[in-house]
Amino acid sequence: MIPFLAQVEAPEYNMWNAKPGTPQLWMAIAIAMVVGFAIMVAMLYAPTRMRKPIASAAIFLAGLFWVLVFLFPQPIDTQVKVEQRPPGFVQGISFWLADAIPVVGTFANILTAFILGLGVFSLVRIHLLRVTKKQRDWPFSVVLLVSIVAMAFFGYADWYSRLGPNAQKIEESWPLTAYGKDLLFDGMLQVMEAAMFSLIAFFILSAAYRAFRIRSVEATILLAAAMIAMLSLMGAVVVGWDGWIEQVTNKDPFLTNFTLSSVSGFIRDNLQTPGIRAIDFGIGLGALAMGLRLWLSLERAGAN
């Protein structure tokens, strides 16, 4: 879809794209727009009881595409030229699916771009109301609104000055818009995000203090395992402890299992990793079941 609209050269032409500037390409864009508007109008004017079947059918078709991509035999080389592709029904379908993946994947990006507008609208509405009604902390809302406008203006202006029709080379000049964007993005946003991220170090400390207090048998086991894991990451402690064990036990094959690196390795490989894998299996199955229910419209969102 993007190659259609952007009129750029595609690496390989197939039924999903066409050469820039050709009538074939413009025809495809026109048909896509007409079909898109027709679907929107149909959804708007469809009776309420019909909307769910229409939505279910759309979900099923969208899901079916990805199911086929997963289950259907895939071409070994998707970059092969159209005229060199092997003939046959199975091969035809597999290449058709492979060609369609970037196009279908782009649908989600286009939808997201539209929906982002809704999100920004909600944010602006809430904070404009807060400013107009002079609610508590309304000056912060002013800061947010000014920030949104300034970032959008400088971001777009900077992009236009670098990549637009009259793009300037950055080596030759450093336009005012670039200064503005750098100040807002690199000088403020990135720095503030780094500050938020750095808070985690202190939060880990306070959370760990509460979690590692000896209150029960489980908490004690957690504390012991955590202590071993932490100490095993301290080079000086590992060298000291492991060296002492080897010296005292005279490198006894059994007793050298009690070096810090061996014990922490045992905990990691035999206790932690199987636990993580078991949880991952559960999460994966849950996601698959949820996906299946959504695909077949068995899920009734919000109707608990």
Partner: protein, 298 residues
């Protein structure tokens, strides 16, 4: 068709079909038999208590569906939040649902509005209760922390895909004494929630939540189907161990023609070859030595 599944192998295909069959069969079973058992999950029992506490204090209930996009995880989180909202709506308790992803925000708005309508109190629905905060991770964390501190939320539900912001939110909530029920599908964040929150749903308990809360036959059947799948995986692990053990220790030819009894290397074992089919040689049609269309087979 041989050789075309070189990337995933036939085993993945067979397992996917089996798993889907188990889940769909149990959904059908649950629709006819409503006595399927679900074990007690303490974190979910705490939901009503948390909302009750928020009602007593007259403070809002906070919900955050993670920072992932619109996918099965965020939809599941919104399913749980629909139940939380339903309970909150009964007591006319205010809610705050903060979203990072605009698509999740749009769906959340619809679901929460539907819940208020289903409860017969559409006038209590506040469109500003579902908020898009920011689509940047730490700006989102800062925004939600601000809401927590300004509005002093009494109960909070953090469920979905969380990353580094998980502890920022959990500790900010802890600092104001809010009850927290949390769950993350990200295994790296679960320990943070365990350390900082009052109740944590671990792993697939997150997906079991909607079945546990609503007892809808479709969800309960799906949950039982997942348990069957876990048994299948456990059995596969045991079978794999047995096959690997039996196949691993056998007589193999030595270079000079004699045989020896030894453990086979990983690459020599049958199970390795079975799970990792070799990618066949293939050349485009028209080039010398081109093989057949689907990739030349074995």
């Amino acid at each position: 068709m041989d050789g075309v599944y070189y990337e995933k192998g036939w085993l993945g295909l067979v397992y996917t079909i089996l798993v889907c069959t188990f889940i769909l069969y149990n959904i059908a079973r649950a629709k006819s038999n409503r006595t399927l058992f679900i074990r007690r999950i303490p974190g979910l029992n705490a939901i009503d208590d948390s909302i009750g506490r928020a009602t007593e204090m007259g403070k809002p209930v906070l919900m955050v569906p993670g920072i992932g996009g619109l996918n099965a995880i965020s939809v599941q989180a919104l399913q749980i939040f629909a139940y939380v909202t339903k309970t909150a709506a009964k007591f006319a308790n205010p809610i705050r649902l903060c979203c990072l992803d605009p698509a999740v925000y749009t769906v959340a708005q619809e679901i929460i509005r539907d819940v208020y309508q289903a409860e017969g109190v559409p006038e209590n629905y506040d469109p500003d209760s579902v908020r898009f905060i920011s689509d940047r991770q730490f700006a989102f964390a800062a925004g939600v922390s601000g809401i927590i501190l300004r509005e002093k939320t009494a109960a909070a539900f953090l469920m979905g895909e969380f990353f580094a912001e998980s502890l920022i939110l959990a500790e900010t909530l802890n600092s104001i004494g809010a009850i927290q029920v949390a769950s993350s599908t990200e295994i790296t964040q679960t320990p943070f929630f365990v350390a900082a929150c009052d109740y944590v749903l671990i792993g697939d308990e997150f997906y079991a939540a909607s079945a546990y809360l609503s007892r809808q036959p479709v969800l309960v059947g799906s949950l039982v189907g997942q348990d069957w799948c876990k048994l299948l995986i456990a059995a596969s692990v045991l079978v794999g161990m047995g096959v690997n053990l039996v196949d691993g220790f056998k007589r193999v030819p030595k270079e000079e023609g004699a045989t020896e009894l030894r453990f086979q290397t990983k690459d020599e074992r049958m199970i390795t070859k079975f799970l990792n089919p070799e990618k066949p040689e293939w050349k485009p049609a028209g080039t010398p030595d081109a093989t057949n269309a689907t990739g030349g087979g074995e």
